[in-house]
């Protein structure tokens, strides 16, 4: 399989915080058109993996290819124009700025004003309840709405690959369902999605392909539907 057919190829990736290794020799591939999920418990290294992929944490070994291009160690601001957009863990909205300003910043790397305007409309169609509140400070929205805003902001860069880091954490079940639906909708528009989740049930129901991360290493991978049926995964992650 040639590397260009894949949205993201992570090969032998390792990273550490200080002297403590956080992820070890991680290999994963997102084929174009797929929703891929990485499932892992708290402290499994999920966020470190995401941060290493997008250049916030330095890799000690291994490579990352985005649509065939080696992006290992490139800073995140250079990856946005290449089609990578991240919804960080904890949302990380610019809370003292308005909703509209947050969305405008999502489109920072773009200079095509007409297309940005059009994308703003499209993104707001996904979240009709936000349209009326564009001048509201982002920090005053509810947790679920803030998560929607974080996704909307990430979509404003018109990404080809969207990384979602724990988008459902701390949210009410109804909102979790809405996020899951949203991921499917976004993937339907031709965006590749990498969903990193602690909530294995939701993640596995949405994704095409899944990886299980434990202690900083990938311990299992398969089609999401197959993993959801696996007795070990059910016992460890689904509470069945």
């Amino acid at each position: 399989m040639s590397i260009e057919e894949n949205a993201l190829v992570v090969a032998g990736l390792s990273a550490s915080y200080g002297v403590v290794p956080a992820i070890r020799n991680v290999n994963l591939t997102i084929r174009t058109g797929q929703i891929v999920t990485i499932v892992g418990a708290n402290g499994a290294g999920k966020s470190t993996l995401i941060k290493t992929i997008c250049g916030l944490v330095r890799a000690t070994a291994g490579t990352v290819h985005l649509f065939g291009e080696d992006i290992t160690g490139q800073s995140p601001d250079r990856l946005v124009p290449k089609g990578l957009s991240v919804v960080p863990e904890g949302r990380r909205l610019f809370s003292e700025m308005t909703l509209l300003e947050n969305l405008e910043l999502g489109a920072f790397a773009r200079s095509d004003k007409v297309a940005v305007r059009r994308d703003l409309d499209r993104v707001l169609d996904l979240f009709p309840e936000l349209r009326e509140r564009l001048s509201t400070m982002a920090g005053t929205f509810s947790g679920g709405q803030q998560q929607m805003i974080a996704v909307a902001r990430a979509l404003m860069s018109s990404p080809r690959l969207l990384l979602l880091d724990e988008p459902t954490i701390g949210l009410a079940p109804a909102v979790v369902d809405r996020i899951a639906e949203l991921v499917t909708t976004i993937a339907g528009t031709g965006v590749n999605v990498l969903l990193v989740e602690q909530n294995a049930e939701t993640a596995l129901s949405v994704a095409d392909y899944a990886y299980i991360l434990e202690g900083g290493s990938i311990v299992a991978e398969d089609k999401a539907s197959v993993l959801a049926e696996s007795p070990e995964v059910q016992r460890a992650y689904l509470g069945i």
Partner: protein, 291 residues
């Protein structure tokens, strides 16, 4: 009543300079999370260049107002070059490093103190009157020069506020100061923003120095006093907050002016330090600070 108005006007004049100073400090802190104690030297360099250039240009027969405007351009340019050198060879390597940047800026203070003293000499430099005359505002008389200083400071502050809230660069600077990693994830290039923030701050200090030169006694140590007051202003207002810097600047100026008149200048200075201690004890983030 007349005394009160006179004191309010004086507070506004001094406050205007403190505001330009503290806006720069707060901008640098917001974007790079460092405090630049050599910021006062950018102000001093600009004031010194103006103080030297105006008499020199006036001697060549140029009228004093165009001579002053040319001198302002020269002063701001020299200070910005100095700021650029400070950033490129210094602060660039100490971003988000409080201790490292502190040591660097103290070193720069000592270095620049020596250079300025050697270059400009220790003698104070009077600048000829640029805009002669006085005006009467609500029964209080103020020199035209001081009114012009206030007007210029208001325009500069308003322009900065507009730029921070309305332009793409301004929004990116604010985003970086709220969460630099999240900003980078939106494609905002952190290093370019840090340089932009530092240079805007340098320009504000340089403009403040150029504006104060005609109404103050210019010497190489002129920056130190303003730096301390500007720093206190941002601590009171809240480091990283633009409205906080404005509020803090006016607050410090008012205490200094009213305290200096009704008590004495020494008590006023003590009052400012007491106030900053109280603010740090009661509200360590400052009045309008966050994060």
């Amino acid at each position: 009543m007349q005394t009160a108005i006179q004191l309010i006007l004086t507070s506004l004049q001094i406050g205007a300079v403190y505001i330009l100073f503290s806006l720069g400090l707060t901008l640098i802190f917001g974007v790079m999370r460092i405090v630049n104690f050599a910021h006062g030297h950018l102000f001093a360099v600009s004031a010194l260049v103006v103080a030297y250039t105006v008499p020199w240009l006036a001697d060549t027969g140029l009228p004093v107002l165009p001579a002053y405007l040319l001198a302002v351009i020269a002063g701001v340019a020299v200070a910005m070059v100095l700021g650029f050198l400070m950033y490129v060879f210094g602060f660039k390597y100490f971003q988000r490093d409080m201790v490292g940047s502190f040591i660097l800026s103290i070193g720069l203070v000592l270095l620049l103190d020596g250079i300025l003293l050697k270059t400009f000499g220790g003698a104070v430099r009077p600048v000829p009157e640029i805009l002669p005359g006085t005006v009467t505002i609500l029964g209080a008389s103020v020199t035209v020069q001081r009114v012009a200083l206030c007007a210029a400071a208001v325009i500069i502050t308003a322009a900065l506020y507009w730029a921070l809230t309305r332009t793409k660069l301004g929004k990116a600077l604010r985003a970086v100061s709220i969460d630099h990693e999240a900003a980078m994830l939106q494609g905002v290039p952190y290093n370019r923003m840090a340089l932009a923030g530092f240079m805007i701050a340098a320009a504000l200090a340089a403009l403040a120095g150029a504006l104060i030169a005609p109404i103050s006694i210019v010497s190489p140590v002129i920056g130190a006093d303003y730096l301390i007051k500007g720093f206190i202003a941002v601590i009171i207002g809240g480091l990283g907050s633009v409205p906080g810097a404005i509020l803090g600047g006016l607050f410090v100026a008012a205490i200094e002016t009213f305290g200096g008149f009704y008590l004495d200048p020494t008590s006023a200075t003590i009052a400012i330090f007491v106030l900053v201690i109280v603010v740090l004890l009661v509200r360590p983030k400052g009045l309008l600070g966050h994060g």
